[in-house]
């Protein structure tokens, strides 16, 4: 009996031992785990090919057709906050104002432009992290030259970010290293001039390290031309009245906004000239007609100095093809959204075909769209313009049971042709960037259409403006004429203030919807084009299908001096004592 019991004890103790030892065996590999869902830095920094993949991420810092990643901001950029256009949605009852252009800005609120601050700085940090990591990396040790070139690209991207921060906010903290959690974040703003000087010195250092141009497969990567274009724009802006200590609208902390160099206009002119020299001082691509001009913006070409490339599948916000202009900006009748509608005020600065203004007798007030300059037809969609195979029709019928409302109007009778809330309020839509080869299916992709960031025409206009301000009217006339003549307008012969006005007009028209006007009007201190009555044309159709229009004021866009810059988000001020808020907020 006792033996039997011991036998059973033995049997079960063996079993239990087995179970316990099994658990113990498992204990031996302690709590170490494999990291399988990401990469450790040694791999990422091992070869130039890997480092390049880390660099390319930061190219996402470049601008695109949308101002940000929030729902509405994906489809529109600052053109809706400039003299060019307004945000258009549900004209009848509720004017959405996603950039708070009408409502005005406060430190808590600049609408969806509020995301800019964080977006811009995220990429500054990416650049700084990159530059710190590749230093001393395995890739750097084995392939120093290739890594130097990649670093130069990253420094270009960082300088480009700082140029945008300057434009939106004035002087900002100049961070050239990536802060760690233990760092003091109470960092004051650097002066406007310090940031400009930083950009310029960076470009001067890296330009020689960058290739002059890239082959077609690397279109979209930084080049020496891109870097010098950035320098040209930066110095032109810095030299402008907005930043002139004597003219700046601010009354405190002037160093955050001003630039004070004796030869600033000559510096700006020289910076533009440096680009012009490199391209061989040539003519712009010629455009015999509006169609050819419109197509300049639909594919890569030699006048583009730097652009963000898009293919046939991946767009501004992932694979969302609607972030491309065909869907976002086509009129409602094409099932487009017509989100950025050009202002009637803006369309009136487009000249007549003969070079006269719309104030001149060449203009027929009853037929406003006849005999206008070529760029009007290339850039603007208007009542009656033939677009994607049919005339655009914004008109509302006096009796839509007899004569139907226009397909592109905000009539709710046209149930099946796009959302009536997308009918145009001003009576216009953007035609620039539209690829009509797609036909009427605007939800298709337009492969290969880049978003142009720097192009030669801008450099010519930079050169003209800087030369004029530096006292060289001759050069100014020559280069502004290069731009206007390409657009089949007569050469510009004006002088004095009229010449400057002509240069400004040329910028407004030539660089339409490319993200310039928002800043240009500011740096020119041109408050007439910042706060004003927004005009549109209201079209109606009688029972004989004859259309007529009346001009009307859609809204009054207010402007306050503080709006020369965006406010720094209040949450930033709350966290950082040293950070001075922009004046007026």
């Amino acid at each position: 009996m006792i033996m039997k019991k011991y036998k059973s004890i033995k049997r079960y103790s063996t079993m239990v031992l087995t179970i316990i030892l099994f658990s113990l065996g498992a204990c031996e590999d302690s709590l170490e785990i494999d990291v399988r869902d990401s990469f450790a830095s040694d791999l990422v920094l091992s070869t130039p090919e890997q480092v390049e993949l880390l660099l390319l991420t930061t190219y996402n810092s470049t601008e695109s057709f949308g101002a940000g990643s929030q729902f509405w901001a994906r489809y529109m950029n600052v053109e809706i906050a400039s003299f060019e256009a307004r945000m258009n949605f549900n004209a009848a009852t509720q004017a959405l104002d996603r950039f708070n252009v009408v409502r005005g800005w406060t430190s808590a609120n600049v609408g969806q432009l509020g995301q800019k601050w964080q977006d811009l700085w995220t990429y500054v940090r990416q650049a700084n992290v990159f530059l710190e990591l590749v230093e001393e990396s395995e890739a750097q040790q084995n392939n120093p030259d290739e890594i130097e070139a990649l670093k130069a690209e990253m420094r270009f991207l960082r300088a480009n970010q700082y140029s945008k921060l300057l434009k939106f906010y004035g002087g900002v903290p100049l961070l050239t290293s990536a802060a760690t959690l233990d760092d003091d974040f109470n960092i004051p703003r650097n002066s406007y001039q310090e940031v400009v000087e930083f950009i310029v010195s960076e470009i001067d250092e890296i330009a020689p390290l960058l290739p002059l141009t890239r082959d077609s497969g690397e279109f979209g990567r930084a080049t020496r031309l891109a870097a010098l274009a950035l320098k040209s724009r930066t110095l032109l802006y810095a030299a402008s009245d907005l930043h002139d200590p004597a003219m700046a609208p601010q009354s405190s902390n002037l160093e955050l906004y001003t630039y004070d160099k004796p030869n600033k206009w000559q510096d700006a002119a020289d910076a533009a000239a440096a680009v012009i020299d490199l391209v061989g001082d040539r003519d712009l691509i010629s455009t015999p007609n509006a169609k050819a001009y419109q197509e300049l913006f639909l594919s890569a070409n030699q006048d583009i100095l730097f652009a963000r490339p898009f293919g046939g599948t991946v767009f501004g916000f992932g694979t969302d093809v609607t972030t491309q202009p065909d869907n976002a900006q086509s009129p409602r009748g094409f099932d487009g959204w017509g989100l950025s509608t050009p202002l009637h005020n803006y369309t009136m600065i487009y000249n007549m075909e003969d070079g006269n203004t719309t104030e001149s007798p060449s203009f027929d007030a009853a037929n406003p769209y006849e005999n206008r300059e070529m760029r009007f037809y290339a850039n603007i969609n208007y009542q009656g313009a033939v677009f994607r195979g049919r005339p655009i029709d914004y008109s509302i019928s006096v009796d839509n049971t007899v004569v139907p409302d226009g397909l592109d109007s905000f009539s709710q009778d046209q149930q099946t042709l796009g959302n009536f809330r997308h009918g145009s309020t001003t009576g216009y839509a953007m035609r620039k960037f539209q690829n009509e080869a797609l036909g009427t299916d605007v939800k298709q992709a337009s492969p290969g259409r880049p978003y142009i960031i720097y192009r030669l025409a801008e450099i010519y206009l930079n050169y003209a403006e800087a030369s004029y301000r530096a006292g060289d009217e001759e050069t100014a006339r020559r280069y502004v004429s290069r731009v206007s003549e390409r657009a089949l307008q007569p050469a510009i012969t004006a002088s004095g203030p009229e010449l400057l006005e002509a240069i400004k007009r040329e910028r407004r028209v030539e660089l339409a919807f490319e993200g310039h006007n928002f800043f240009d009007e500011r740096r020119w201190l041109n408050e007439d084009n910042l706060g004003f009555d927004v005009k549109g044309l209201r079209w109606s159709k009688d029972l004989n299908e004859n259309v007529s229009f009346e001009e009307f004021t859609i809204e009054t866009r207010p402007f306050d001096q503080k709006q020369y810059y965006l406010p720094i988000p209040q949450s930033e001020i709350n966290r950082t004592e040293a950070l001075v808020q922009n004046e007026g907020y």
Binding site: G311, G312, R575
Partner: protein, 1064 residues
Amino acid sequence: MEKLKKAVANKNNLMGSCFYFKKIHGIWLCTILFIFLSVTNALAQDVSVSGIISDAQGPLPGASVVVKGTTSGAQSDFDGNYSLTVANGSVLVFSYIGYATQEITVDGQSVINVTLEEDASKLDEVVVLGYTTKKKGEVTGSVSTIDSKAIEQSSSKDVAKSLAGRASGLIISDRGGVPGAGNGGGGSTDDDATTILIRGKSTLGNNTPLILIDGVPSGSFSQLAPQDIASLTVLKDGSAAIYGSRAANGVILVTTKRGKSGKPKINFSHAYNVSSFTKRPKLMDVNQYATYENEINARVNGADADPVFTPGDIAGFPNTDWADEVLAKTSPESRTSLSVSGGTEKAKYFVSGDFIDQKGLYKSGDLGFKQYQLRSNIDVNLTDSFKLGVDLATRFGKRTAPGVNANNIYKLIFALPPNEIARYPNGLPARGGDEGNPILTSSNASGFEDNFTNTTTGRFTADWNLDKVLKGLSIKGFTGFRKIETNSKSWYSPWTFYAQLDDGTFEPRIGSNQQGTERILTESFSKFDEQIYNARLHYDNTFGNHSISTFVGMERLTNDSNNFFATKVGGFPDASRGELFQGNNDDRQSSGGTSSEFKRQDFFGSLSYDFKKKYFIDFTMRYDGSSRFGEGNRYGTFPSVAASWAIDKEGFLENVSWIDGLKLRASWSEMGNDRIGPNQFLSLFDLGTNTGNANNPLATRFPNYYVLGEGGESFFNTYNLSRLANTDVTWETAKLWNIGLNFTLFDNKLSGDFNYYEQDRADILVNRSGAIPGFIGLQNSQIPAENIGETRSWGYEFELAWNDQVSDNFSYNLGMNFTNARNEVISLPEGDNILDSQKQAGKPIDSYNRVFPTNGIFRDQAQVDATAIKREGTVPGEPIYVDVNEDGIVDGNDFIRTSTSNIPQVQYGIYGGFNYKSFGLNFLFQGQAEAETLVFFDQSGAKPEFVFNERWTPSNTNSIYPRAFAQGDAISGGQVDGVDGFADLYYFDASFVRLKEVELSYTLKSDVVKFADVRLFARGFNLATFFSDIWDLGLDPEATGYNNFRGAQYTPLKTYTLGVNFSF
């Protein structure tokens, strides 16, 4: 510990191998082996005794008979027979769970028949605690148990939902959810359909309680078959401390049923339900809509502006109720369950099967859930002292949904105006809106999404009673596994709608939403694999007046997750279904996959001591390691102590007849929380893998890819720094104390339990994103968690129950429970210059932020004129904003953080029932208070009707809602001054009282129906709601919140059930 080491060393020859394990666990396990291998004992025997143990109903199998003061004894067999040999004069102790123990002295008899009496005392009920069970009267901690009957009698298909109002300390909110939601796949503890909190929120981090099913951690128990549940225990204070590091949020222990020896018991039930939304959105009709839009127009463009809609327009409009077009009035559901249990003294079994079929409330019928589950719990007694258990449970769930997600469907319901055509008179569907016609998108016309979840859990337990070695000694352990496999196939297919042409004919057109005009197929697979090993050495014994119960143990858990997905866009030839090989091989195709590991290693021990069953004290200690933390920070120590005093056993109360039990309890414990993302202590890089958004896989604010080339032909997946490292990251700790009093009075008719508790959390893992300025350039996701948050929570709760058996024919019961759980943030990093009123510190966890206080609504122009500080352009009927920062203007900086959230601070249940002859009635009311819910609608379209009815108009100046306003309205809109935040008038009191459950049953005994007991029942769930402002607006108050179509979508259900149960 040193002593143990020496002792172990003496047995070196036996156990030499142990010394390879220098770590503490090695020593513990060596100790276990040492103890049982070193001790022997002896036995003696004399007389043969046998008999039958029975209860009022007949023979009682499985009852135990033990010789007092020894370990020798026997169990009654199938027919209640027992036999054993004892020394003459020994005392035999007859016992069975739930029955009063009897002692009989052997005085030469050879036959002793015993009839055990059922023990009425609740205090002797057995409560399942961590790794042990105790009699209810001996529990020192704060514990609630939920009657398994209450769960079985619920109409909800979601076990978690049926717990609301059932126990004090539980805060449960039914948030609705599509059929099959809350499946807890992939080891996730998130439950989107139900919020389960024990004593409210107590941390800024993860607040979900630890849920263990038969000792194995489980993400969710929502889909468990109610008939399988034997008991459900909620550990709320130090009683949870034995689970140490993950127990700070409380623990829910679910125990499944096991077989008892006896004839096979068969239980079959079938229930048929009809469900509907408790409230379905009542939308504005076309007249109301047109009036509202005209009012907006007059506000925006001036009173003289032409109206948007003329009466003539309106007369010609269709009047579409989009909710009515999409949502069905009711949907059918059914549940069928079968279980068989029984066994002999050698082997017992409980096997069951359960099938649910639920249809969703889309009219299309293309939303639904089906689930099969099987369970088999087997117990085998290899010998009298060695038991094995083998449990296996498996569940197959399939959820089907349309190809467009619910968010999109609900957006259309609320955003399409009633004057859009849904269907033409000939029945053909119209365009709807930019994102389609919800009649089509809520059906398989837009494709489908099929989700399959297969969960298998298994457990192998060993229980070796070593009484023969040392009385009271036993070794217990289990190994368990959990495997969850999910796969989903999501097929988006543009649909066909019809356009009516000018000539009156209809032309088919292709409809699509932002996913585009091409067909998209995404397939994804994930696998979760978990193993758990547990070994314990228990020792329980009584020495005169002293009882001790102690155990030491270790547990090891490892899990491994894998997933991958692939998406292709375009190229699929068939609209109804695609396979990946058919799709286009261009840049839009994407695929990805990842895997991760998690490990824990825990050592624990517990010592319970009592003196005369009068003074109780429990110590527990836990030493836990988690792979969430880096080298050197992995282990944490979590001690706990609890004591109780049975006052009723004191001499001065012994003769007070109306007191049956009175007990004072107190506990203090330190627990932890490791539920953070993995690898926070490492700096890592992500390579672009198109995760994020299944509809648009590449869409992300800061992309990890770029396109190069003139034609954009080169697509690169690129690297990004995923997160900064915080090498110091370690445990969050909770210090909790609890004081409680429980009592049973008046012949056990009245019982009650009262608790007060406080909890301090420190070292909460939060990231400092609130204090790091944005210009540092860190995205929130790149900032690692640091041990820097502090919170405090406190509250009280009580339960009262009255049970009375008035006569053989009539019994009734009545009870209530009440919980008041509060918390506040003590500190967390959030910017130095921030206004106090905007700070989170001092406010409850998850309180609403960015709320703009108002003083109501401007009644008239005189009031507007008399108010100096107001938003520019304010007119009557608009909110009176408060200048919070007193800078003389009201703007986007004038927000506050409120002291409320959508988690109720007060929750209570009132229940009762009676049985009269064959009839039974049970009911449960559940209520909550001190919560607020956002109710906000501004999107142009078919807004709920109350927005119209309750708005300010010149004739309704004392309104709760502002005058008609458009989306993004600068003054009344959701974004005050463009800042994301709402005026406080859109936060409504979320209090309510709800008739949660009612059951009426009729039982036919087997003497009436020959073969079985038959129980017929009718039940209702969420039948009626009272005292709720939100309900009065036409919305369900328990939903998460309403922000246009966001937030609450598939809101809670009201269910009627008819069913039958056979047991034989």
